[in-house]
């Protein structure tokens, strides 16, 4: 593969002498590494029942966190859950971050899946260790294991007031057979001290002192830094270039051409020219001086305004029927009155505060990577493929992520670092600038939707038609132009509608840029359109929007695919019997949020409220947003209430912080967020033109309530986002009488 990297010219200039500091990265666990947790280990090395837990003879318990930490609190939650099940004292637990390895099971940290997918699985890892320690103690004391308990880092025989520390038992426990999955006994939930509690933030102290190590903070001896000039248009390439001015910059070592990707683009880097230098500033300076003529390629005609018109034409024309109940055409034809609206939402960019960054060290036979990645397994596979290596020859260490939101699930930037490290024969850090991040993202889809409802003579809704058009995520993998069911199950197929005739259509949309998943994904635009349209219908029917939503959700019950009018329902990868669509839960969060926000008394206030309720990632979330207009006519969000039913919650404190953050994240996009393309290239470049909510624009207060529930745990990181935008625009309608059907709001109103 390195043959495809063309070395332009070597600079003989000597740059900065970079002081090499110590790597303060904490530790990384490699499942197959001798001596690492999960290895068979040697006699006397303590207990290793699985790849997640190690009990050392000195009593130190090491627990692996196999999911990536990007602010959602997994490192503060998952190891604590394992420790709880084990009976370990967190003060004597060391948490290590796992490398990318299939031995840990799924490590992809997106889809709000960590707790909902790992809850039982991780408890079993701790429980297995506990059972082995208890068995060892039972053997030593010659008492039945059932008479022993494990707690506070020790096993107790209460009858004789004897105890043995975990460390004292570790080597004996290692000789006990590891219990089979079916034989593992979990503690009753009531015994768990982590469930529903506020757990300490394990990385808090490191973060506030600057010690926390993010991807950008990795420093290796002899490390070089690369900044890459990438084609402005996806699929474009370098036509010709002159590196001489870049090479003349002190510190710049080489300009390296990266291979142009072939469609489908998937996780390939987009190509371009890398300026590799001894330090970041020299690389940035060098890139500025590169002279490059770009070839646009197939997407160079992509303009956002004309593409929007195309999407809107698609939803007027119709598409493939994906949800069908009754006869919508007949019901619409017979309706006394129809209500119709078209909604538009723009492309968005992830813009994590830490732009993508990765460090790699490679030779002909192996590669070692440190990356701020949400998915170290896919990074490992992508690097192996790009370098022509077996996955076993690639090691991916996971640092803390300075935000992810879905961007860092796509390892294109990790592959860049690996290719350059091999080419340079030295460790290379690829640093994306903010401009790179804004201009070369896997963008959240632009979308158009058309909703039509038919009302009968009594004003009852008799028909509901929903058409959606957006370039699908699958376009990056196989060129798909129709969204897959998984994306449609995010607010089109899965919305319970107590309406006799319902039809949803999936309209064609071809992607002209890289499309990717962004926190809450297709729910963002689907919840915006559906919850806005329901508010429009409430006003058309002269009903209170809350009462109207309750009517549409209908009585408390679970909904089968047949009730929804679909053949099957992708349910975020989890079974419907365990995670049904349950309108009792829609109703409960609605009732709680209206009660907390003073919804019923809102007419007396000078501000206006808006409401939205949406189920996503198996969680039910209701949001009320209050908006006010200041003396200058500028609108601001005054207050927000968010009520979530996430099923069983482990770390209540991080759940609350995720929901608070989701409100700000959702408001920021709804008010200001927009990415536009001209000639196939992104028009925005930094926070000056991709505007984010700032402190003074945030609501004065955000009230969070997490509904107590013993339902299985749902997702948490994403579900707070979708109802925020429609709650806002519904409030804006109440305040101004203007119905905002296109996002961001700033296009329509002064905010």
């Amino acid at each position: 593969m390195s043959e495809s990297l063309r070395v332009v010219r070597r600079s003989f200039l000597v740059g900065l002498g970079i002081a090499v500091g110590g790597l303060a990265l904490g530790s990384f666990a490699r499942a197959e590494e001798p001596g690492g947790p999960g290895a068979k280990g040697t006699a006397g090395d303590g207990l290793r029942p699985n790849v997640f837990v190690h009990v050392a003879p000195d009593g130190l318990v090491t627990i692996v966190c196999a999911r990536s930490e990007m602010g959602q609190g997994v490192r503060s939650t998952l190891p604590a859950l394992i420790a709880d099940e084990l009976g370990a004292d967190m003060a004597r637990v060391k948490i290590v971050q796992a490398d990318g390895d299939k031995a840990y099971g799924d490590q992809n940290t997106d889809g709000s899946r960590s707790v909902r997918m790992d809850f039982a699985r991780l408890r079993r890892t701790g429980a297995a260790a506990r059972m082995m320690l208890v068995t060892a103690a039972a053997r030593r004391w010659k008492v039945p294991a059932a008479t022993l308990t494990a707690r506070d880092h020790a096993v107790f025989h209460d009858a004789t007031k004897r105890s043995l520390g975990f460390g004292e038992l570790a080597n004996d426990a290692a000789k006990v057979p590891v219990p089979a999955k079916e034989a593992i006994t979990l503690r009753p939930l009531s015994e768990l001290k982590t469930v529903g509690r506020e757990l300490p933030l394990v990385d808090g102290a490191d973060i506030v002192t600057g010690r926390a190590a993010f991807g950008a903070d990795v420093r290796l001896p002899g490390m070089l830094t690369a900044v890459i000039a990438r084609p402005p248009v996806v699929g474009g390439k370098v036509a010709r270039h002159d590196p001489s001015k870049a090479l003349a910059v002190k510190g710049v070592k080489r300009v390296v051409a990266l291979p142009a990707p072939k469609p489908p683009f998937a996780f390939q880097p987009v190509g371009g020219l890398a300026v590799v230098a001894e330090d970041t500033w020299s690389a940035m300076r060098g890139r500025k001086l590169l002279e490059i003529a770009w070839e646009g390629g197939d997407n160079a005609g992509y303009d956002s305004p004309s593409y929007r018109a195309k999407l809107e034409a698609a939803v007027r024309a119709g598409g493939r029927v994906v949800r069908d109940l009754g006869d919508v055409d007949e019901a619409l034809a017979g309706a006394k009155r129809t209500v119709e609206a078209v909604y538009h939402a723009p492309n968005l960019v992830h813009a994590p505060m830490e732009p993508p960054v990765a460090v790699a060290k490679a030779d002909a036979r192996s590669c070692e990577v440190w990356a701020s990645t949400q998915n170290p397994q896919s990074a490992r596979a992508a690097v192996a493929k790009a370098l022509g290596l077996d996955e076993g020859a690639v090691t991916v260490h996971v640092t803390l992520l300075g935000g992810g939101f879905g961007r860092k699930s796509k390892p294109d930037y990790v592959v860049e670092a690996a290719l350059l490290a091999r080419e340079m024969g030295a460790p290379v850090r690829v640093q994306w600038t903010r401009e790179d991040d804004i201009r070369h993202d896997y963008y959240h889809s632009v979308s158009a939707q058309r909703l039509v409802a038919g009302l009968d003579g009594a004003g009852k809704i008799v028909a509901w038609q929903h058409r959606t058009a957006f370039p699908p995520i699958a376009s990056i993998f196989d060129g798909a132009t129709y969204a897959a069911p998984g994306q449609l199950a995010q607010g089109v197929l899965d919305v319970p509608l107590s309406i006799p005739n319902v039809r949803a259509e999936n309209c064609e949309a071809r992607a002209h840029t890289r499309i990717g998943w962004l926190r809450s994904v297709a729910n963002i635009y689907h919840a915006f359109a559906v919850q806005s349209f329901l508010d429009e219908l409430a006003h058309a029917r002269r009903m209170d929007p809350a009462d109207h939503l309750l009517e549409v959700f209908g009585p408390p019950r679970t909904w089968s695919p047949a009730d929804l009018g679909v053949a099957e329902l992708p349910n975020y990868g989890q079974p419907l019997d365990e995670y049904p669509i349950d309108t009792a839960r829609h109703r409960r969060v609605l009732e709680r949020v209206t009660s907390l926000s003073g919804w019923r008394g809102r007419a007396a206030a000078k501000r206006a409220l808006g409401l939205a309720v949406h189920r996503s990632f198996l969680a039910y979330v209701a949001v009320v947003v209050a908006v006010v207009k200041d003396a200058a006519g500028k609108i601001r969000v005054d207050e927000a209430w968010i009520v979530a039913d996430c099923g069983l919650v482990v770390n209540l404190e991080r759940v609350r912080s995720q929901l608070e953050g989701a409100v700000v994240f959702g408001l920021s996009h709804a008010l200001y967020g927009e990415i536009t393309m001209k000639g196939g290239a992104t028009e925005q470049s930094n926070f000056r033109d991709f505007r984010l909510m700032r402190l003074h624009e945030a609501p004065r207060r955000i009230h969070v309530e997490v509904v107590e529930s013993d339902a299985p745990p749902s997702g948490v990181g994403e579900p707070g986002v979708p109802p925020v935008a429609p709650a806002l625009t519904n409030a804006l309608f109440a305040l101004t009488g203007t119905r905002v059907r296109e996002l961001p709001v700033v296009r329509t109103l002064a905010v």
Partner: protein
Amino acid sequence: MTVRLRVNGIDRELDVDPETPLLWALRDALGLTGTKYGCGEALCGACTVHLDGEVVRSCVTPVRRAAGKQVTTIEGLSPDGSHPLQRAWVELGVPQCGFCQAGQIMSAAALLAKKPKPTDAEIDRSLSGNLCRCGTYLRIRAAVKKAAGEP
């Protein structure tokens, strides 16, 4: 060219181009990675440090401006993480991803040094240059007030 400066109480001599932003001098040359790159345009505040007690965005501050001056980074705000802001940040669980927080804390520290009891509006004005993508703003405001001993 050699630039002499005092960083977190330690005299340093750097052999760098004097136009190099202080951010990269701190990160690349001195290994002080607590100060973050977020935008390179003074738009996000992740790179905030103090120069003789005043806030600067180190991503656009040439290192020559720091010559002969005291630079304080998040690593030097307190010897042991015990600055009232650092304590309040942990107690209130402010950070999510944490990437912007060093900059937020450094801005807040400069504010409290000049206005020990800031109002909400003053906090908003002084910290509106620090972006947080995770949306921790309300806890940031609360933590500043807590550190200031305000209700």
